[in-house]
């Protein structure tokens, strides 16, 4: 019996507060395409980074053709014949195509210390031709489109003559023609005995290309499946699992009122197209989809951070135009995804942060009354149950849940009527999650309209009245009532499902 070319045994990886990989075992044989499937945050990318040496596993062993090996840094991975096609491009913008393809393994020229540019361009040209890409190899990479950059990325991996090729959603940025080409390449490599680990969100790919499927969920290996005997529905079941985490189930009926926020055929240069949706007062509307589907971009365009190229944003029937501060004046509030970089001034105190958005409303004359600041912030700290020794505490010392409460609290002083939450519970533990949702429910009960972006399917299903699902910059469907379940969200969120 042949040995797998690469085998991972109970690999674990921890980040502060999170178990990213929990004893995952995984193997791949020469000439095999092994599909890796899972929701956002299931641990696929972490596993891949362990493989390529970007991360060190905190536990477990790696075997190469039966021999135990260590992958301490990317050089080790390369020596084992592992090449990776990254999802976030690993290209250097102001180097040309050939320089990028050979980055880190340049050919030396005849004069010591110099490079053999002509040989690199020649070989680069060969790989571009293999991929039917008709671009001059002297082109600087930053002038290429996304699809072309992805093809260069693929050429880079192919040129390494890898024995194990890892691909992280390689077709995400490609057109059909390029995808077909890539699949032909994969078939060819497979017949030459290359082992391929393929991470995908697209069901059609998983079934047409895969020899074996492994599903990850919450950092754990849920199971493996044979594409010949499995149905897409079964796979979705495995990805979703059953959850008992219902601490934040809602306990009230919403009573939708007037239309508060209405987007009509909204397009923006940030990549979203033809977005139409409605959020009413007293209603929580979800915006689901995969990471990169354009959900955050919808929030940014709605708020006026990114420029709207066509379509309209109406707030209580009035057109929103201009800069974010004008959106705030109209009653819009955005609780951004990355609270540390966009939501908080981390080194400043709780007091200063919580009062920031409301300064205009509370002190119209621009003169700040410190006693009033203290009063209002203490009031909010109590109301939101922010665990902090005092209002003077620097926000960076607080937990994620308390930081998030401050970001929400910022908007309570502004009389906002419409709240957009972008991943409100990311990196927050279960207890704090329940409190954050209690806050959101309170807002809604008081008549606010809420649009909530979340990658956690169970949140969308349990918290929202209805949910729009996005895919590749567009809205792919609206789910209401019984139709609002995890399976349907996944199906709408994935291409070709």
């Amino acid at each position: 019996m042949t040995l797998p070319i690469l085998e991972l045994r109970s690999i674990s990886k921890f980040f502060p507060g999170i178990v990213a990989l929990d004893k995952v075992s995984f193997d791949v044989y020469s000439g095999e395409v092994h599909m890796l499937l899972g929701e956002n945050g299931a641990g696929k990318s972490t596993l891949m980074k362990v493989l390529c040496g970007a991360y060190q596993a905190d536990g477990g062993e790696i075997y190469h053709q039966g021999q135990p090996v260590q992958i301490h840094h990317p050089g080790d991975a390369r020596n084992l014949g592992i090449a990776v096609i990254f999802q976030e491009f690993s290209l250097v913008p102001y180097l040309n195509i050939a320089q990028n393809i050979f980055l880190g393994r340049e050919y030396s020229g005849s004069i010591p210390g110099t490079l053999d540019h002509s040989r690199m361009h020649q070989e680069a040209k060969h790989w571009l031709r293999v991929l039917s890409l008709d671009i001059d190899t002297h082109t600087l990479v930053h002038t290429l489109g996304v699809a072309q950059q992805q093809m260069v990325e693929i050429a880079k991996a192919l040129s390494q003559d890898a024995k194990i090729l890892v691909m992280d959603e390689p077709t995400a940025a490609l057109s059909d023609r390029e995808t077909t080409l890539l699949f032909e390449m994969i078939r060819k490599l497979q017949s030459e005995g290359v082992a391929i680990i393929y991470i995908s969100h697209r069901m059609a790919e998983v079934f047409s290309m895969g020899d074996r499927i492994t599903v990850l969920r919450d950092g754990k290996q849920v199971g493996s499946a044979d594409p010949k005997t499995t149905t897409p529905d079964e796979l979705v079941q495995m990805m979703v699992g059953r959850r008992v985490d219902m601490a934040y189930a809602r306990n009230f009926q919403s009573q939708p009122g007037r239309v508060a926020l209405k987007l009509s055929h909204l397009c923006s240069e940030n990549g979203i197209e033809d977005i139409s949706l409605e959020v009413r007062e007293g209603e929580i509307v979800g915006l689901a989809g995969l990471v990169g589907a354009g959900r955050t971009e919808v929030a940014r365009a709605t708020f006026g951070v990114d420029k709207v190229s066509s379509g309209t944003v109406e707030i209580f029937g009035k057109n929103r135009t201009g800069e974010p501060f004008q959106s705030v004046d109209m009653g819009l509030a955005l609780i951004p995804e990355s609270r540390k970089t966009e939501g908080l001034a981390l080194i400043r105190s709780v007091e200063e942060n919580i009062i920031l958005s409301g300064l205009n409303k509370i002190f119209p004359s621009s003169w700040i009354n410190n006693r009033k600041v203290q009063q209002i912030s203490e009031d909010l700290i109590r109301k939101l149950r922010i665990a902090t020794p005092s209002g003077k505490q620097s926000t960076q010392l607080l937990s994620g849940g308390n930081q998030q409460k401050i970001v929400i609290g910022k908007w309570l002083t502004t009389d906002s009527k419409i709240f957009i939450f972008d991943e409100p519970t990311r990196g927050i533990d279960v207890g704090a999650k329940a409190e954050i949702f209690a806050l959101i429910y309170k807002l809604v009960e008081d008549g606010a309209a809420v649009l909530m972006i979340s990658s956690e399917l169970s949140e969308i299903v349990n918290v929202c009245d209805k949910a729009y699902v996005m895919r590749e910059g567009k809205i792919s469907g609206l789910l209401e009532k019984e139709a609002l379940n995890e399976e349907n969200i996944l199906k709408l969120g994935m291409t070709d499902a």
Binding site: P74, Y94, L95, G109
Partner: protein, 319 residues
């Protein structure tokens, strides 16, 4: 308004758009000065501009690499001064020119490595680290000279600045060799490729299995070493070691790099642009001298040059 006129200009002369802003400005400066002063375009004066620009060129070339790697070297003027003083000090002490040259280069190299190591290993912002080093070097220069000028440097070192070979002043050779060497380093070696990559996508370079830290430090080492080399010309020019000789020169160097079209982001740099930027700064200083403008106003003119260069390039990218 300026915007629209410029845009129209670029549509009427589409080729104008492809010419880098720095070349346009150099041309404009030379045109103006040649009209205002008949001597400006004479061969001796042009040669003079070249000679006067050499020291600036020698520190601006490595500064280009530093800025491409998303860094900055604020210490370069003070380091240049300190190395110059070191050269003068060892000349006065031993009258051994090769030893003095080696010591100056060595000191530059060591301080460059210290800059780089602190920035890379302690993960400190380059601006702060090199600003601190600026203060240290300035102080060291004063300590070594005891605040005085070291004038007992003999007669040989001065020849490096005033000497001729085949009718061309020696500093011009320094300039040519420096340019060629750094051009080859940047465009024809691994190190150069990695300079682009450190600024453009440091993670990608790390994932490519390259020892990024060493190359990153090497950029600052190069900067320091070139300051050591340039300090020989500085000491030669003044025929003495002066503790404030090149204080503030980092301003000219950074200005020349920016005017030359190198950006602080994404590893977007252009070495020949830096050359043009240095010449533009030199032309500006020389021309203003010729038409009798006070030196206090010359600094402002360089500041203005930077602003105009940036405006020009941003209009062109929009046009």
């Amino acid at each position: 308004m300026l915007n629209t006129t410029l845009n129209e200009g670029f549509t009427i002369f589409p080729t104008l758009k492809r010419i880098p802003g720095v070349a346009l400005m150099l041309f404009a400066c030379m045109l103006v000065f040649s009209i205002l002063n008949a001597d400006f375009l004479s061969v001796p004066n042009l040669m003079n501009i070249g000679v006067q620009s050499t020291i600036l060129l020698m520190i601006s070339l490595p500064m280009t690499l530093v800025i491409m790697a998303e860094g900055i070297d604020m210490s370069i003027g003070a380091l240049l001064t300190f190395c110059g003083v070191i050269a003068a000090y060892f000349l006065a002490l031993t009258h051994n020119l090769p030893l003095a040259i080696c010591m100056a280069i060595l000191v530059g190299l060591v301080i460059g490595i210290v800059n780089g190591a602190i920035i890379v290993y302690l993960n400190m912002p380059p601006f702060v680290v090199t600003l601190g080093m600026l203060g240290i070097c300035q102080s060291l220069a004063l300590i070594v000279t005891d605040g005085q000028t070291i004038s007992d440097v003999g007669n040989t070192i001065g020849l490096a600045y005033t000497g001729n070979f085949l009718g061309i002043p020696l500093p011009i050779y320094f300039a040519i060799v420096s340019y060629v060497v750094i051009h080859i380093l940047l465009y024809h070696t691994r190190f150069g490729t990695y300079v682009f990559a450190i600024g453009g996508n440091r993670d990608a370079l790390k994932l490519a299995g390259v020892r990024v830290n060493l190359h990153h430090i090497a950029i600052y080492a190069l900067s320091g070493m070139m300051a050591g080399l340039a300090s020989i010309l500085l000491t030669a020019r003044m025929n003495s070691g002066h503790p404030t000789a090149a204080i503030g020169m980092e301003f000219d160097a950074i200005a020349a790099v920016i005017v030359g079209g190198t950006s602080f982001e994404k590893g977007n740099g252009w070495l020949f642009g830096t050359f043009l930027g240095v010449i533009t700064v030199g032309v500006l200083r020389n021309g203003l001298n010729l038409i009798g403008v006070q030196s206090s106003i010359q600094v402002a003119s360089i500041g203005l040059l930077v602003l105009v260069a940036l405006l020009l390039d941003s209009f062109k990218s929009k046009a």
